[in-house]
Amino acid sequence: MTSNAIIRTDPGEPIIEVVDLGRDFVLSEGPFLRRTRRTVTAVRDLTFTVRPGEIVGCLGPNGAGKSSTMKMLTGILTPTSGRARVAGMEPARQRTRLAREIGVVFGQRTTLWWDLPLRDSLALTRHLYRVPGRAHAERLAELTELLELGPFLDTPVRQLSLGQRMRGDITAALLHAPRLLVLDEPTIGLDVVSKSTIRDFLLRTNSERGTTILITTHDLGDVERLCERVMVIDHGRLVFDGALPRLRAAVPTPRMLVVDLASASGEIEVTGARTVRVEGPRQWLELRDNPARVIAEVTREHEVVDLTLREPDIEAVVSSLYRGADPVEEAGSR
């Protein structure tokens, strides 16, 4: 995607700087007296930087440590090792001051007040962040239009649909014009239209205001639409950090040739490709070799009605990356 071409005039100093960041959880298990303690490492030796104006996507399987990382960056969790600097501050120690510089959205839960109409929740946010009235009114009007909040501004938050609530949450996170927006699964459970509204909005916020965006997601559509840069975390480790095209190149995932034959037949056998699936007259061939050669051979030997060549989708790339990462031994129990 090129629509998010950001004018990055001054890379400036990094807005996020993370060195060897790690977080352990000590779990107590079992009945009261025979309780055993086990250490689980959620994040280990994470090192990366994010420059102002970037949109960085954070991918990884369930339990990889993405949320734990976001919580350390926002000061909710104290790291057990390493250090983080966000907007020039140490998150856990300067949490309250940092809160004014960043906006945070947790897709799984709301930061709004459950029983209040959305409008009141937003007004309260304004007071807590001490945004002057006029600036607030302007910003709210703008966000109301862009995120189409109008119809439910006066509805109590608990009555909002998931998509409406999420838009409300994003608004609350942006009213104080933060430099950095941290989103943890903001599109989880949303329909196509809501997703696209939110994605467009995020792109716009990034390009117009230069807001840095760090987003974790399981939705690769988010990544393809939004992020120039992707970080893949697996078992608490950073297994890939780079541009999206590089991610594709990093993991050799074969292209797929889909062949429609005139009639059902046995598996096609050609050199340079392997048939991986047969469904009546349609067969899927995983390419190992120059596609032109394979196609020529297939059409010579068989009666072909139709042919399509498929690029590996990002989903396949990422899942092979997860599988490729060496499994991490659970930290010793005692």
């Binding site: 001054d10 909710i76 309250t96 001490r130 945004v131």
Partner: protein, 294 residues
């Protein structure tokens, strides 16, 4: 690009060149202003159901009045208890009740800390530029708690008028100060016991037995409980400074158990010390806060 990061809030903070003193004062007041803002919100929410609010307040008031009745009966029956007359007994009761009532009104919600931790709403509090302690304390602030404070203060007034005491301005000021200390002591104990919930899930019951049990203990002249208990609530969990020592101060009476007399003047110091402890425990709890897995 240069101006994209400009905060949209010129003149938001009292300007840097605004004089350090004013800045310091604003900073100091900030938690209270935030508290007021959040509490007001809940008051407005509660006001939407006036009947329910009135009924709940009435229930609370009835509870207090029942306890007052119990005190009157106990003392009236025995004539005096541990050397305390009915009005003196009511004084102890009212000092305890009003201190606990006021503390409960302003800080009682901290006992719901575990709930916030479990549901993840504590995470949301941590990402706001407001002390999470203020947010937890102000959560679900309810005017119905006045249903306890007001009758307690009325009983206190009645008791003060009827006890045999020579009043001076100094004594009144001392009384006000000890009462404030009592409120702070109760709130601090509340916060400390709530912090257990940072470490142990479902510790609310344990915390409640300390706070509410402590309240029951202070409602009578503690001399009646015997020396061990008096010592522990003086030196360990300093509940004696909520009602017992202030009562001795007002009544100008030597300690029946022969504890040092200067103790009755140390309430404010104890309160400050305990608040410092509470702040420390809270900070430690925050540092060990582990959020939830999802």
């Amino acid at each position: 690009m240069a101006d994209t990061h400009r905060r949209i809030v010129p003149g938001d903070e009292p300007g840097e060149g605004d004089g350090g003193a004013r800045l310091a004062v604003t900073k100091l007041l900030r938690p209270f202003l935030d508290y007021r803002r959040l509490a007001w919100l809940w008051v407005r929410a509660a006001a939407q159901y006036p009947l329910s609010l009135a009924l709940m307040s009435l229930a609370v008031t009835t509870g207090v009045l029942t306890q007052v009745g119990a005190v009157v009966i106990v003392f009236g029956h025995a004539g005096t208890l541990a050397g305390f007359t009915v009005y003196e007994g009511l004084l102890v009761f009212a000092l305890a009740s009003s201190a606990f009532g006021i503390a409960d009104m302003f800080a009682g919600s901290v006992e719901r800390l575990g709930h916030h931790v479990r549901t993840g709403s504590f995470d949301a509090m941590l990402i706001r530029p407001v002390s999470p302690l203020v947010q937890v304390a102000a959560d679900e602030f309810s005017p119905r708690r006045l249903g306890k404070v007001v009758p307690a203060l009325v009983v206190l007034g009645i008791a003060l008028v009827n006890v045999d005491v020579e009043w001076s301005y100094l004594k009144m000021a001392l009384l006000a100060l000890t009462m404030l200390s009592g409120v702070l002591i109760c709130s601090a104990i509340w916060v400390i016991s709530a912090c257990v919930q940072f470490f142990v899930a479902g510790a609310r019951e344990a915390a409640n037995s300390l706070t509410y049990g402590g309240q029951a203990l202070t409602e009578y002249p503690i001399a009646i409980y015997g020396e061990e208990i008096v010592r522990s609530v003086t030196y360990v969990v300093p509940l004696a400074f909520v009602s017992w020592q202030p009562a001795l101060l007002v009544l100008d009476r030597p300690d029946p158990l022969g504890m040092p007399e200067y103790l009755r003047h140390t309430g404010p110091a104890v309160a400050v010390l305990l608040c410092a402890c509470a702040a420390l425990v809270w900070r430690t709890g925050l540092r060990h806060y582990r959020s939830t897995g999802s």
